[in-house]
Subunit: 325 residues, 2 copies
């Protein structure tokens, strides 16, 4: 019995959860899996208010073996599973990157759902880090479920933005070619541009350098995904920015032009987009850096910096999205 039986499953659900990193704001990114009837089903939390990761996984598993209605809200799925599970999960193993929630918030408690479904085991990647939360482990243990807590650092990295959102989380986003060029029109794929717009729909504040605004004349909204536009702070020593640049004409947005970063203190989830000068000025102040690397080389100068970071995770689509710290 020398084998770490959960290791492989966590590789998988951590990967799945990162696909929705930042998009779950203000909730944590979480991945889960259920193995039942010798088949594996995964689930991720995609958006605040929608079902939690473990609920998606349990529901996928249940529906693979039963005729069941189409249900979408967390409350409906919880209630249906509690009523109809009929012991289906009793020999199942459940895996979740974060301790199942004990409290009833926008969605009902996952720990109480698991208590009723009573799988054989629940393996948990990282305990709930928020004071006053937690308690999920006790609920599961008290109901006789075999609970393992892994303290897998990768599961902690996954929720680091969530922990910082309690106060403030700031990341720098930079799109570049494989040889470090950042200029010359759209570098990233449509898929990555959609991803950026999805992120803009979630953040509170977008910080951008004055030079980038002058040169690129951007809109900085989330039109590709019909999302909301974040407030914008143009960080610039002097104003001199033409007001016919599209970003000024977006509804329900505040635009600040300031030569300090004090405004960041009024926001919780902040993305910085900018060029070399801005990066080099504030690279030490951001929590994370996110690089969108396109699989191409351009015959142009590179982005210059002296910097080093740790790769936390890489999402691979047509581009690479590299999360670093």
């Amino acid at each position: 019995m020398r084998i770490e039986k959960w290791g492989y499953v966590f590789d998988l659900i951590i990967n799945e959860a990162w696909k929705y990193q930042f998009l779950t704001y203000p909730n944590p990114a979480v991945g889960a899996a259920v193995i039942v009837k010798n088949q594996i089903f995964t689930g991720v939390h995609k958006k605040a208010g929608e079902p939690h990761a473990e609920v998606h996984a349990l529901w996928e598993a249940y529906r693979a073996f039963h005729d069941a209605p189409e249900l979408y809200t967390s409350k409906e799925i919880h209630e249906y599973l509690k009523k109809h599970h009929n012991g289906f999960f009793n020999d199942a193993n459940v895996y979740v990157t974060l301790e199942p929630c004990a409290h009833e918030g926008k969605t009902p408690s996952c720990a109480y759902l698991l208590k009723e479904l009573k799988p054989k085991s629940v393996s948990i990647g990282w305990p709930d880090p928020i004071k006053g939360h937690g308690g999920g482990v006790e609920i599961l243990k008290n109901s006789g479920i075999d609970v393992k807590i892994l303290n897998d650092k990768r599961c902690f990295h996954l929720i680091e933005p969530f922990i910082k959102w309690q106060n403030r989380f700031v990341f720098y986003k930079l799109a570049l070619t494989m040889n470090g060029a950042i200029t010359g029109g759209y570098i990233s794929s449509d898929e990555s541009l959609d991803w950026v717009h999805n992120i803009r729909d979630k953040i509170d504040l977008l910080v951008i350098g004055g030079n980038t605004v002058r040169i690129d004349r951007p809109t900085l909204d989330a039109r590709r995904v019909n999302g909301k536009a974040p407030d914008v702070l143009i960080y610039s020593k002097n104003d001199g920015i033409e007001r016919d640049i599209p970003l000024f004409n977006v509804k329900n947005r505040k635009v600040f032009i300031e030569d300090s970063l004090e405004k960041l203190e009024d926001y919780k989830f902040i993305m910085i987009e900018g060029g070399e000068r801005l990066y080099n000025e504030i690279k030490h102040m951001v929590d994370w850096k996110v690089f969108i690397v396109s699989p191409k080389f351009a015959n142009r100068f590179n982005f210059r910096s002296e910097d080093e970071f740790e790769i936390l995770h890489t999402n691979q689509s047509s581009d690479l999205i590299v999360f670093g710290r």
Copy 2:
């Protein structure tokens, strides 16, 4: 029953198999998993002559639930499992990126092993592409196992080098920083350097540009992993290369200095290491490109090219290893 139950498992085993891409030469890179007793076990083929992926996975699964001896050779494990399985795998589901082998080569046939263990299902990512091989699917089907063939393109990418090795496979390897600098000492992590030496131990021929040899004065062996050193072709318009450069003093190696690439026709598995000039001259002639991207920025000029490629896979360690085509 609308759910593709195998999708998640293939994400996982494809990732695992890529960790040994190139190292299995002349065999294909293959990943496998077994789900039994609601637990998942994976295996990968690591090296020619060692057990195949599905054998590793089956053996891991078996040993998690039985006291069994330490066995290492494929033959021993096949024989032990055939003798002692006692129906253990009959409700298991097996997943493998490549059709299980039907023929007895250096190792016994995996299809015949599976036939005797008789799992409930075997899901296969890609059929055996080599003429005269194949037949694994028929053996499994005839024994009443539920066989699914996925034709998952990602499983094909995994074995593309293997298919080309039947004739010749050539890839360009380039290490760079996040902003495209390739000069300035060792860029890559120890982990990546070990990986490069592991690859050098497997390739037949290493091609390098004359300028790189003159400037870097490299050894180009596999000393970090006690491996064999590949033959070297220094591709140079004129000789003028000092013979006290360490690469000339490596045992059991041939060194060619030539102004043509004809020598490549004598080899099957070829890596090209070099700089900007060589890359731009032959970028259209190589099968794959492999980039080792370090999570740092350097205040130096970038590698210049006009090029675009498709990302086939990315291995993430402390660096990124990006396989492109």
